[in-house]
Subunit: 566 residues, 2 copies
């Protein structure tokens, strides 16, 4: 294609509204424009890159026997009511009424619709296994849309769904997806981690996330460089650092003392002279409408995800101040487990075996000394804490590293959640009705592009992997009014096309500096520059990522790039 | 691919809810399933066919220099308010509010968003011309969703938009699209007509529709087999049949007479003994909130589209009975133009020069004789009637034929409607601000599939054109438990793939009748049947559309199909 004919509205400056690199560069390089909060138009360059990404996704999904479908974006409320998620999705779901006042929503995901199709059509074990997928638009009314294409209210997803007769079938479908996802991200040229994940509102058991490390990410991942353990921070298991001091001496009999105005763990620590590790942090959560007292060590944080998994309720949240006051007779800064009855008490394992600790007295401005878990109260013991920097790996004892990441893929073993709630049943080989087991698997299409920009950019712009760049190579005559350069550039461009390179000819009447800057900005991996060396039968091949330039005989430049790309 | 692994849920019977052939067959052949009124899931076969259609559309759009984009489906109300269409679209537009109570809608089309992008980015004549397109989901809350994929509430469209400096640029973009559309529909194997059309809610001047003739269609087209004139019925111009009798004798002085209980044209004709062609039919329309009296010959019908064009108001409708009573003092069956003041009167050209006609007296149960247009009232003269069977072509005088069709494409010269209302301005070569001129162009992706099914089906199922069939050829061993047949079928299947045929192997353990029936139903254009003749080194190549069978040497069958397809 000829650059002079294309619509590539590059900007000189980074747009003020954009904070993260991918957002800045996708705007500056003319890939995208915002229409509304979290809603973007994909211009020519973005769409060209997204089409390459979807082609790779499609090829790898087809390779594992996935059958492509295309399901509606508009869903009747009924299918979501059947699965119970009409309520669960809350304000994240776009809802609307049609002209007959029927309640509809915009699909956030498609477990319900896929299961409804399966329920209507699958009758026998002979029809299983199945893997169905689509590449399609999803809608989520994000509370905080931001970071360009990283957190949007409308986005593209490849979502697939597996249906199997039993758990080993599901294991196979899951493993096929895991491998396909690795191939997809490898082919797209991304760096990524595969981490243990929680399954959130999806239900189900095992799940893994594919995470691209980037400072723009808002997901935290704990990684062990030594043994390879990697998990979402919310789910990561780890050995906490030991308490900073031995258990305080004491008589094991809780004993109230005055702590005027001391509400936080830090304040009580300063006041008592005992480290934070000697305190019990008491938090009140609400799960399924019921308050639950949750205890972690003073220096630890609760993982709400682990709590939700233990609580077993679909909706969990911190209690409101009024709820706490009403139930405990004290404010959040003075709560503790001693004397609490008629309420579930969950304690993190790091508190097990500890003695003579400090906890709130359930009376404002008072705490208790000499509180001993298991003696003064009897909690349910669970892993509830969130891993932290400095923790050690459970597998190998080496220190864990925390990384900021963005999720680019997610694979779930859903189990029977949807097949059961929506009544999907097939006959097995002995003629008995059984419930198939399901998996669900997603890839964020735009996230691949954003993650690539986050990983591969410099001050001049982006340097995309050739497989997903809008063009593989740009041919740039330094001076477009020089007939020899123009002619040579055109010949090289044609030869690039003949070599099946996705090539662009920068035929604009611009200064060379402008042309180089623009090509650097939009991230074309290779540039063949036709300049003064033409007289000696040479052109320059510039590698955008390494910024290295090689002088190559004019006729060989396309093959040179072809070999480098492949 | 192996049929045994695929999800192709064929049905034995035509589903009761489906009336038109494409709806019945797409359901029966397992292409689609309904999720809700006018909302369908596209299963494996439909998606495979739709992907082939989009590939053809994309190639031809790229070939005319179209640049692909992807715009959002969710639009803020503001862009539609700017163009004035927020109101015009009425109940056809899906509207919703987000979590911040901002008003949004689902895109019915994208003139507004495209113009907003152009307004933000185009600055100079040097950036023009541009052709931007996308292949994307549209949403329309159809009052009567029906006929499967023919009238849906969510559907795929290729829509493109051209921006030019002047009318001759627009002519060129329009002509490029017209040719591209012909190539697209030709490549998809469709029969179609290109007809003059009205532009409806789109605004603008010239427009043409691409119509596929089918009994399932709800658009009527007038076609002259002799000179090739073709137009949407609402827009078609024609010579009406002459009045059945000469003008009645009379004194040219309107004269009231009693017509008790006679309200319709037919009743008054029977009562007076004069033909319908001697009557003036008086209709009351409301345009822009004002009543307008519209007159056509007694045997003619009003084209509301022509009326809307003449009225020049965005909203036109028939008047309600109460409005008529209030304004005329009589009901609809007794209205006429004589004595009407303070109201626009429009008369169809077929009434010009007529004398002594019959019209209502604006008094219940009374009519007037001897009414002469131009004497007894002074109307504005326009072409307002809808063409009818039996009319003659304006170009060549030969009889027009009326055909039922479905619209598969539409091209519009929008003119300045959107660029002006939304303030798109660029600098011309002399540095002056000018408003670019726009065109908009659409293709219904699913309509192509539906129209193909409507055109090419028989009692056994569909027979799709090879370019858009989900597979080009199916290889069917008659008896899958016969090792020799199985082996030969597999070899033929592999050779088909090597010949770049999109091939399916029917490896199911089914009776041959079932396999043949299924392949006939889903419309695979060619079947290579591996049966008893294998012993003589032959297989059968079956042509689905002609139902002809050719015995071909086993090794030559793939090449035979390859040559036939190409």
């Amino acid at each position: 294609m000829y650059w002079s004919k294309l619509f590539i509205p590059t900007l000189r400056e980074n747009p003020a509204e954009a904070e993260v690199a991918s957002h800045q560069l996708l705007l500056r390089a003319g890939y995208i424009r915002q229409l509304s909060a979290g809603i973007y138009s994909y211009l020519f360059l973005a769409q060209r890159s997204l089409l390459k990404i979807t082609r790779i996704v499609r090829q790898e999904m087809d390779a594992i026997g996935g059958q492509e479908m295309l399901l509606p974006a508009l869903h009747p409320a009924e299918v979501w009511q059947e699965s119970g998620r009409w309520e669960v999705m809350g304000a994240n779901m776009f809802r609307l009424k049609d002209r007959w006042q029927h309640q509809l929503c915009l699909g956030m995901t498609h477990e319900e619709v896929m299961t409804a199709i399966a329920r209507g059509e699958l009758r026998s074990y002979k029809q299983l296994p199945q893997i169905w997928y689509q590449i399609q638009t999803k809608f989520r009314d994000e509370p905080r849309p931001k970071s360009g294409l990283l957190r949007m209210r409308q986005f593209l997803m490849k979502d697939s769904y597996s249906f199997d007769m039993d758990a080993s079938g599901l294991d196979e479908a899951y493993e096929k997806h895991r491998r396909a996802y690795c191939r997809i991200f490898d082919r797209c040229g991304l760096k990524y981690l595969v981490v243990e994940a929680h399954s959130g509102a999806m239900g189900g058991s095992q799940s893994q996330e594919f995470m691209a490390p980037t400072e723009a990410g808002e997901d935290h991942v704990a990684v062990c460089a030594s043994c390879g353990y990697a998990a979402n921070l919310e789910k990561a298991e780890s050995e906490p650092v030991a308490p900073l001091a031995a258990d305080p001496p004491g008589d094991l009999a809780p004993h109230k003392f005055h702590t005027p105005g001391r509400k936080t763990i830090a304040e009580v620590s300063a006041f008592t002279g005992l480290p934070e590790t000697s305190q019990i942090k008491s938090l009140v959560m609400v799960a399924g409408g019921e308050p639950v007292l949750v205890l972690v060590r003073g220096d630890h944080s609760l993982s709400e995800t682990k709590f939700a998994g233990v609580a077993g309720a679909p909706d969990v949240r911190p209690a409101h101040p009024e709820e706490i006051r009403e139930r405990f007779g004290a404010d959040a800064g003075s709560l503790g487990p001693v004397g609490i009855r008629g309420m579930r008490i969950l304690a993190d394992l790091a508190l097990a075996g500890r003695r003579n600790m400090i906890a709130g007295a359930n009376q404002d401005d008072y705490h208790l000394r000499h509180v001993t878990p298991g003696e003064d109260f009897t909690p349910e013991w669970h892993d509830l804490r969130q891993a932290a920097e400095g923790d050690r790996c459970r597998n190998c004892g080496k220190p864990l590293e925390l990384k900021k990441t963005v999720e680019i893929g997610h694979i779930f073993k859903l189990g029977y959640k949807y097949s059961e709630s929506m009544g999907l049943r097939v006959l097995n080989a002995s003629g008995a009705e059984v419930t198939p087991i399901m998996g669900s698997y997603g890839i964020g299409i735009e996230r691949i592009l954003s993650a690539a920009v986050e990983s591969y950019h410099d001050l001049d712009g982006m340097s995309l992997p050739p497989a997903i760049a809008p063009f593989e190579v740009v041919v740039t005559p330094v001076n477009n009014s020089d007939a020899a350069q123009r002619k040579a550039a055109m010949e090289i461009y044609r030869e690039c096309l003949a070599q099946r390179l996705d090539a662009l000819l920068d035929d604009r009447d611009e200064r060379p500096g402008v042309k180089f800057k623009d090509a650097d900005l939009i991230g074309i991996p290779y540039r063949i520059t036709v300049g003064k060396k033409l007289a000696q039968g040479k052109v320059e091949v510039f590698n955008r990522r390494t910024r290295e330039t090689a002088a190559v005989p004019t006729g060989e430049a396309p093959a040179f790039v072809r070999n480098t790309v492949s």
